[in-house]
């Protein structure tokens, strides 16, 4: 009988299946995209010259004893990425627009013709107005970045991604002066209490979610705090259904409970935070060194020594309290250098008074949460290793900075950072030095890399001559502020200024109707003051009052899908100014359809590179070239170099050898390719990539001796150091071979000061604008009525489950796993009231636009809430208007502060960012 049965799987039908699961070759692959920087290592299977499938490599070895491994990291999008190579929206040849912009009529042209025209448009723009008239947009697809090589040479500003795609946690920066300290995801396992707050990891962290479920099985408790019963709530122990935009009140009420019950960690608070620092009761400003002693620093702050009964300087060089027991309560009198007496009190005393507005009963009313729920959770936070699992949702609220500051206060009071299983998370990258520093080396070879890094470090040491208390974090940040050293992307600017003057936002941001009532003046007056006072001098803040953009270069991004404020604004205000719009991409996006040229980029298995270097798992992951690019598509680096060659060529033909940029720098148009490729030595993608890996080993980012071959053997290599670009140093902990990573340990364990104005975690911001707005301490404010005060619904959003931004939204395999069309979630009672059926087409309307979507009806959605997950291509909607077309795209004026300690611009850091959450809309039936 056994034989008979076995024979059944010997049939031809069985061989068809067996044959389907075979391959000619297998390669390591990944996706150089910004998902959450995953950098999942995959095996890519190739048959007959085509990618047939991929499967997670699953080669992670456990890092720390007693903690689950990271296998098999990778999601459904990665599991069918190969399909995108051959999808009908793939671009395989250079295309030139022949119809109207947006019409979708293109003809094939040669690379030479396309790049010649683009180079001419760039040179025209430079001759006409200067290189600032070319806009290069920093988009999250890192794999596409090399296509923007030209920006490094022409002095063309690249817009800062923090605002461009609005991924910033301003509250973390205000508190710690750091860019997103995060732990590795295996550290999540160690939390005793995880608050999933402003995040939906079931959608956005598919590859890592298991650590949350496993932490629960390990005895941890999971609580979700969200307006809707979110998909991430289903596996929680408790779900707190909070009213939209009231999270700061919730956090502050917990802070009050903790302080009132005496549950706060006194030593942690005294040492790590500004709560003991003295504030003058007459001015509301910190007591400062130059007020206390002639010639002392303005940025010297004081606390009250309870033993000596006097105001003494809080040390700038360490967090250690050194025998002082700083007062956290009381009012004291001290004498200033001019002999006057002033009354002072610690920030903590002000905080206690401030929190009187946030009793659990009052906050319960605001948040629509039972006060007992607040009390119970507060006590848990105070007594357990607590982690706030957060994404970038809070920062997208207009007052998200306040929410985040309130959450940071909760963690600070309870000592919940700088040890395993605690802290916050968001998104972080690191260690991109090898590629970024390439063009700064004097020549090829690792000796040159060694020379460069020695030089850089020497320059940083120079900074400490002036102030020996500067920490490694501080010198790196000061260097970044001064030289734009980060990223190797040339000049990077906060885009708010070009938006204001050239994108059409001026009228909107100055419209008093529905705007933030804490603005005492017009937006124009604030921006004028900020610019006139020189707070943004490095950032072309004035330039765009005059310079009109002429060329827009979008590589790997999709501006018309992404821009908060909508397509109408862009197409009416910006597009007519543009002589040349270029989309460099492997797929046809809505922005591509409105472009003059589309340049076909290689897909992720057709080029060589690494995935976004991710702090979350600490591995450098190889994306190998498994197949040749389709058609005439080219790797982004090859495109970048060819654009430089075209610029050189066209400049030579018009006799243009050099030009001056706005800052007076003379920039050459000769030998661009030679300079970019270290005299031709780095002309080939493979040579260059190998060199960047070898250099990374020199820079201490990867183990000594790592090469491309090492990566081809192993697929990934664990990082050994943070590097000096990519914000790694914001992690402020040392990478250990056999431990999970938790950030800020330099501060909590080694007592190294923070890079904030007061050198401690700073909850009190005494800048005049913050005082004017009543935001010197974390506070709750209702979201402004953007979209229309009288509209009935509030729109929230978030990353979707099915796509990295819009990249996979049109992947037919993925589309068949959801409704396959744009939709909006509505509460069942709301839908019934409006007479809307499940699946019916509805119209969402705000003051700035409208969008047509299918209704998805669910009791998980909060009454009065509509959820539109973002990422749908505009061209997936009838009339092509999507969720972003409902968003006015306001920026908060306090983001313009630029003269206050850590509130100063450097790349990927403090700057005005747009809000897009809690937009007011109406929902209408479509007849």
């Amino acid at each position: 009988m056994a034989e008979a049965i076995s024979r059944r799987t010997e049939g031809t039908w069985a061989d068809v299946y067996r044959d389907r699961w075979t391959w000619d070759s297998v390669h390591f692959g990944s996706h150089a995209v910004d998902c959450y920087p995953g950098g999942c290592s995959w095996r890519v299977f190739v048959k007959d010259g085509k990618v047939v499938r991929e499967e997670q490599a699953a080669l992670h070895t456990p890092v720390e004893a007693g903690i689950p491994d990271m296998n098999p990291m990778g999601c459904q999008k990665g599991a069918c990425w190969g399909h995108c190579h051959y999808s009908q929206d793939r671009v395989t040849h250079p295309l030139k627009r022949v119809g109207e912009r947006g019409q979708g009529k293109f003809e094939r042209v040669s690379w030479d013709e396309a790049l010649g025209d683009i180079a001419d448009a760039m040179l025209d723009a430079i001759e006409d107005q200067g290189p600032e008239a070319i806009l290069s947009l920093l988009t999250p697809e890192v794999g596409a970045a090399p296509a923007r090589l030209f920006a490094n040479f022409l002095g063309t500003p690249t817009t800062d991604g923090n605002a461009e795609f609005q991924d910033f946690s301003p509250g973390w920066h205000l508190t710690w002066g750091l860019y997103n300290p995060v732990s590795t995801m295996d550290d999540w396992f160690l939390a005793e209490l995880t608050l999933i707050w402003h995040a939906n990891p079931v959608y956005t962290n598919i590859h890592w979610y298991h650590y949350l479920a496993e932490s629960r099985y390990n005895g941890g408790e999971v609580v979700t705090i969200a307006p809707d019963y979110s998909p991430s709530a289903i596996h929680a122990d408790h779900h707190q259904p909070i009213r939209i935009g009231t999270d700061a009140a919730f956090a502050l009420a917990m802070c009050k409970v903790i302080i009132d019950a005496g549950l706060y960690q006194k030593q942690f608070v005294q040492e790590q935070t500004d709560l003991p620092l003295l504030v003058r009761t007459d001015t509301g400003r910190f007591l400062r060194g130059n007020e206390m002693m002639a010639g002392d620093r303005e940025d010297q702050f004081f606390w009250w020594d309870t033993r000596t009964g006097s105001a003494v300087p809080a040390p700038r060089g360490t967090l250690a309290t050194a025998g002082v027991d700083p007062a956290l309560e009381g009012r004291f009198t001290t004498t200033l250098v001019d002999g006057t007496s002033v009354e002072v009190e610690p920030v903590m005393a002000r905080l206690r008074r401030h929190l009187e507005d946030y009793t659990p009963e009052k906050a319960g009313e605001i948040c629509e949460i039972h006060p007992d729920n607040i009390r119970q959770l507060a006590r848990k936070v105070a007594t357990r290793k607590t982690k706030i699992f957060i994404g970038w949702n809070s920062g997208k609220y207009y007052h998200g900075d306040l929410m985040e500051r309130a959450m940071a206060l909760l963690l600070g009071l309870t000592g919940n950072w700088g040890k395993k299983g605690t802290g916050t998370r968001s998104w972080a990258i690191m260690g991109m030095d090898g590629g970024s520093f390439m063009a700064r080396k004097a020549g090829p070879g690792q000796e040159e890399a060694q020379k460069l890094i020695t030089q850089l470090m020497a320059m940083r040491r120079l900074l400490t001559l002036e102030d020996p208390t500067l920490t490694a974090e501080m010198t790196q940040n000061r260097a970044a502020e001064a030289a734009g050293e980060l990223g190797g992307m040339g000049v990077v600017v906060p885009p708010a200024f070009v938006w204001y003057h050239q994108f059409g936002y001026k009228e909107r941001w100055n419209n008093p109707e529905n705007n933030d009532p804490s603005m005492k003046r017009t937006f124009d007056e604030y921006i004028r003051e900020a610019v006139d006072k020189g707070w943004w001098d490095q950032s072309y803040a004035k330039a765009y009052e005059e310079v009109e953009p002429r060329v827009l270069f979008e590589a790997g991004g999709n501006l018309l899908r992404r821009q908060r404020g909508g397509q109408k604004l862009l197409l009416e205000s910006l597009w007519p100014k543009l002589e040349m719009v270029v989309s460099c991409d492997y797929r046809m996006t809505t922005t591509g359809l409105y472009s003059d040229y589309i340049l076909p980029a290689a897909q992720h298995y057709e080029k060589l590179g690494n995935s976004m270097p991710s702090v979350h798992h600490l591995n450098f992951v190889l994306c190998d070239r498994a197949v040749e690019p389709l058609g005439e598509a080219l790797p982004d680096y090859e495109i970048g170099v060819r654009i430089l060659a075209a610029i050189e060529d066209r400049a030579r033909k018009r006799g243009m050898r050099e030009f001056k940029d706005r800052k007076g720098n003379v920039r050459t148009l000769e030998n661009l390719v030679a300079t970019a490729t270290l005299g031709g030595a780095m002309r080939e993608e493979e040579t260059r990539f190998d060199e960047s890996i070898r250099d990374n080993a020199v820079y201490g980012v990867l183990p000594k001796g790592t090469t491309l071959n090492t990566l081809r053997e192993k697929g990934q290599v664990r990082f050994t150091g943070w590097g000096t670009v990519g914000h790694g140093i914001s992690q402020a902990s040392t990478i250990k071979e056999d431990e999970v990573h938790n950030p800020l340990r330099w501060h909590t364990e080694d007592k190294v000061p923070y890079d904030t104005l007061v050198r401690r975690a700073q909850y009190y911001i005494d800048h005049e604008w913050f005082l004017e707005a009543g935001e010197e301490l974390p506070t709750h404010k209702e979201p402004p009525a953007h979209g229309g005060a009288k509209r009935r619904f509030m729109m929230t959003s978030g990353h979707n489950r099915w796509s990295v931004h819009s990249m996979n939204m049109t992947n037919n395999v993925i589309m068949n796993t959801y409704r396959g069309e744009p939709f909006v979630c509505l509460n069942d009672d709301d839908a019934a009231g409006l007479g809307i059926e499940n699946g019916e087409q509805v119209k969402l309307v705000s003051d700035v636009g409208e969008s047509l979507l299918a209704a998805k009806i669910t009791p998980s959605c909060r009454p009065g809430q509509v959820i539109v997950y973002n990422g749908f291509e505009p061209y997936m909607h009838e009339n092509w208007y999507s969720q972003a077309d409902l968003e006015p795209g306001h920026v908060k004026h306090l983001g313009l502060v630029g003269n206050y300690g850590h509130l100063k611009y450097r790349m990927f850091s403090w700057q005005p960012i747009p809000a897009d959450r809690a937009v007011r809309v109406d929902v209408e039936r479509v007849a």
């Binding site: 076995s6 095996r43 997670q56 990291m73 599991a79 005895g219 068949n816 796993t817 909607h877 092509w880």
Partner: protein
Amino acid sequence: MATLIRSNRQLAWVFDLNKCIGCQTCSVACRVLWNEGEEGAEQQWWMSVNTMPGRGTPKDWESMGGGYDANGVLQSGQVPTPEQFGGGWDYNYDEVLRGGHGRSVHLQKTAGSKTWGMNWDEDEGAGEFPNAYFFYAPRMCNHCSEPACLEACPTGALFKREEDGLVLRDEDTCQGNQHCAGACPYKKIYFNEARGVSQHCIGCFPRIEQGVAPACVRQCPGRAAFVGYLDDDDGAVSKLVKKWKVALPLHPEMGTKPNVYYVPPLAPAPLREDGSFDEGGDRIPPSYLEGLFGTEVHGALDVLRTELDRKRRGRESEVMDTLILYRWKDALGHLDRDPAEIVWE
């Protein structure tokens, strides 16, 4: 009519519904591997994940009948229609992207169902805000020990492998009369009109032959899926199903003795009318879970709660440690070979 062969060993799957996040990586892995791009297989998702409660795929499958009645009599059940399976979508990419029509056209479905899809009611669930509830359930062929499909098949195309208990179909013999699809109470049998044969999950037998776990298990990023022989007492599957009885078959009353097991879902504490937590209350109605997994579900949930509590008190728990899955390979049982090591001659 085929005679049922008892297998010597039985391969079984366990899905932990407290770890499943509905991401469909299992579904996509399966589809890309076995039938993406195949003519006639446009609607086929041998593995699919649905939000429960929900109408699922095919639409309303739970009321379509099949299986065996209490007396062991085969029920013919309903054969799902292509419209009930839904999906199968293709789109007018060319018209939108290259047609020159601008905004007058947008990306729309040009093939397949207009009203349903394999995951149409994703995240809708049931209940009333704020006490809404739902969870995700991956579904595939149950490779049943009493496969109704096999008994219903008039051509003998279906058979149960002796060595591992997979229920497979000899597609060379299958004549596509779809009696199997009517008899299957789980409605996981599809019909390929282009080829005139029925098709269903093949248990990744070509992978199993090479010592590699099925794609749905090996590619589950939620680490919610386990595979292994039921008689392998040291394996995770056996521990969860037999020793601790925390993994249960879906709709056991259908009488087919399925070999896919589920760790039933816990849920957050519900809120009382005044907004405070009802700690002992049930967000998911127990009667609903009983309808899915039988009365055993209460015992399974009790074990889960007890063991969770042990861990919270710092005690050891074999069940929790098994579900935590410290070493991912433990989910793969004996099928832990890395497929990339295989070199085809």
